[in-house]
Each structure stands twice: as structure tokens, then as C-alpha cells.
Amino acid sequence: MFEKEIRRKSEELLETKTVDMVIGYTSGSLPFQARPVLISSPEDTEQLVWNHFSSPNLARYLLPYRDSSKKIALLAKGCDARAVMVLIQEKQFPRERVHIIGLPCPGMISKTKLEKELGEIKEEDFSFEKDTFLWQGKKWEIFPFLEDTCSRCRYPNPPLYDELIGEKRELWGSSSTDYLEKINGQSEEERWQFWEEELSRCIRCYACRNACPLCYCKECFAESDLPRWVSGVPTLSDNLFFHLGRSMHLAGRCVECGACERACPEEIKIGLLPLKVEMIIKDNFSFEAGLSLEEDAPLLTYRETDPGEFIK
């Protein structure tokens, strides 16, 4: 899966001092996991990995270097690159200090889904090919095991890059079990039941927010003292307040990477809320985040013909 090419390219970029640092993935401490790694010396590029578990959104890791003078190379799947574009547009990182190594995304696999379907599994028993894998002498399709966000991915290919490693890929077919569609078709009462059930489990650990490349506020409204919007106690109403408030803050900015949802220790389908907001914006204001450096963010502009029938 182009791991060698990625290592070689990173080594070259560091050796020629084109960049001061490479942000990529290395093996996680648990199987079926990759974690972000920051590499500054060419010999360490051997640590880099690129596989179906390279899921964290690396754009998040640019932010601490915003005010430095470091030039950084970043491995970027479709969603990472979209997040970088939003950061550039919001002046959180200068374009000229980030070197984007674009990686058409093979789709990230959910370890939870693998275990659910296959039982006890060992990493060394798997061999991955394009869109399939071999396990116990049998060939399996990857699609049913993809992370929810990946199975509905619309932009696997990075929309912005300085160079591309790998071949551009097609979209996956649509998933009929997608929660977004399911909830869209439900009654008010059913929708409430769904969210009541999901959000009563929230322990307000803020892992979702902390994993999000676009939740970079120095002080989050959820933890501000003056004004105090919500308490820190994870009651259903305050959980709902936090997630609705956060989704509004992500309006026109969320890049549908699903980092929030994967970070959640309670397996709450939390990425659906900012995603729904994105769909509202796409359908009504024809805008999608992280696809252009020029177009105005949807809440920074308006049209006289915007929907207004809901106003008396």
C-alpha cells in the first residue's frame, strides 16, 4: 500500500530540508491501530506506516505549530486534506508552511466491526489487497467493515496536495444501513428516542472535541466560566446542549472525517450531528467545507434567495 514510497518521500523531504518535520502514522500500541507520529530526522522515517487503520485526522497535529516557523509535511487522506484546507482558509496555518502528501484513501477499517463479525482476531492473520482481505483462507470484501464515516465517504481523494502518492480512487457504493438516512426518515418521537439513548451515555469527556481538527478554540464554550453556558455534569440536557452547540460551531466547517466519532469511548454516533448540519448546508446553501480556498464559508455570506419560509 505505498508504505515504501511514503517513507522514501518523507526521508527525501527531510534530507533536502524541504521540510523540518513530517506528520504521519506509526504502529499503535495495540493491534489494528495506527497513531500519529512527528518525525524530524530522516532515519526515523522507517517508523512510518500506512494502512487501513491510519484513521486519526492529522490536520489536528498541525495546530501546535501554527506560530512556529517550521515547515511541515503532512500525510493527508481526503478528509485530512479537507481539514487542512479549512485551517488554511481560517488562517490557522499558512499554505506555504505545509507540504501536503496526498494519499487517496483505501478506506479505514473498524476494529470493532471486524471483531463483531469474525470473533477473536490476530493482525498477522490478515493480508489486505485492494478493497478485499484474506483471512483464514477466505476472501472478504472490505466495505462492510469500514468505519461508518468511510463507508459514506464522498471525497477519498485529497482535494489539495503538493504531491500525490498512489492512484486516485472511486467512491464506494452507497450503504443502505446508514444512520443519517435512517434518522431522516423517522418521526419526531423516534428521533428523540434515538438521541436520548445516544446522549444519555455521554460522559462529557470531550474526546470528540479534542480529536476534531476544527475544534481548536483556546477556550471552548462548554468549559467557559463567564458566561457559563452548561454545567460540566453529564446530564442529558447539558450533553445535548454541548453537542448542539458544537455542531453549530462546526457549521460549514466539518469535513466529515469522523475523528470525533471514533474517539468516543461510549461509541456514541456523535459524528452524525455535525454531519447533518453539513447536509443541511449542502442542500440549502450549496456549500461543502474544505473543497476550495476561495469560496466564502457559508455563515460568512448569504444570498437574498436563501430559504425564509420558516420565518413569520
Binding site: 418521537e189 423516534e190 457559563r228 440536557s237 452547540g245 457549521a251 443541511i280 420558516f310 420565518i311 413569520k312
Partner: protein, 144 residues
């Protein structure tokens, strides 16, 4: 629900149009239900969606946000920006199962005292149908 229950509705009114419209209704002695608690804001564009959530959290049964008609904003375009935010919030609230009529919006100009009273009547009527709010109301009180 008690028979004599009356909804509490927080109304965010923009200084230049809707607040003046409410004033006109007052000086013209036009009657409207006393359920609203008015908060004057400089512009409907200054209404942070968090204000609306906060009002519901603190126990409002409904929220009304009212500003100048499109094209009439004192700051030229504040209400156009507001319209986008409110549209998104309104759709999102419904999507998590919060009743659509808990949060209502209107355009009322400084000369529309009559319209202001109608808007309040309609708002109160719709919130009454829904009964007391429960879904976003805080479950305990904290002191800052």
C-alpha cells in the same frame, strides 16, 4: 399539565425594528398575551444560537427571535446572516426530535405594532399546544 399553565416565552427582539414594533404596540394599546419576556438585542444577527439553547435550558417553554424585514436591517445585512444560522439551528433541533414550534422566528418592522401582537399571539398559541418544555431543560441548578 395544570389547566392554568401558561408558557414562558423568551423573545429576542432587535433594537431597531421588532423592539420598536413592540413599543408601538404598547403605545397604541394593542393587546397581546403577557407570556413573553423581552430581551433587546442590537440586531437579529447578534443572536448567537447558543442564546436560544440557553433560554430553553433555563426553562423557557418557547423562544421567539424577531428582527427587521430582509432589506431593512439597520446594519444592512445582519438579518440575512441571521436567517442562515436560524435555518440551520431550526432544522437541527427538529432532527434531534425537539418540537419545531419551540423556536419561532419573525420579521417585524418598527411600524408593525399590529403584526407584533399577531406574532406573539400565534407564538403563544403554538407553544401552548406543545405543553411545557422538557427536552432541553436543565436537570439541576448550579451557581456561578
Amino acid at each position: 399539565m395544570k389547566n392554568n399553565w401558561e408558557p414562558k416565552i423568551v423573545a429576542f427582539l432587535c433594537h431597531w425594528c421588532s423592539y420598536a414594533g413592540a413599543d408601538l404596540a404598547g403605545i397604541s394599546r394593542i393587546q397581546y398575551p403577557p407570556n413573553i419576556r423581552v430581551i433587546r438585542v442590537p440586531c437579529s444577527g447578534a443572536v448567537n444560537p447558543l442564546y436560544i439553547l440557553k433560554a430553553l435550558r433555563e426553562g423557557a417553554d418557547g423562544v421567539l427571535v424577531s428582527g427587521c424585514h430582509p432589506g431593512d436591517c439597520h446594519y444592512l445585512s445582519g438579518n440575512y446572516f441571521a436567517r442562515r444560522k436560524f435555518f440551520i439551528l431550526h432544522e437541527l433541533l427538529q432532527w434531534v426530535g425537539i418540537e419545531k414550534d419551540r423556536v419561532q422566528f419573525s420579521w417585524v418592522s418598527a411600524s408593525e405594532g399590529q403584526k407584533f401582537s399577531q406574532v406573539v399571539e400565534e407564538t403563544v398559541e403554538k407553544v401552548k399546544k406543545l405543553g411545557p418544555a422538557k427536552k432541553l431543560v436543565k436537570e439541576f441548578t448550579f451557581h456561578v
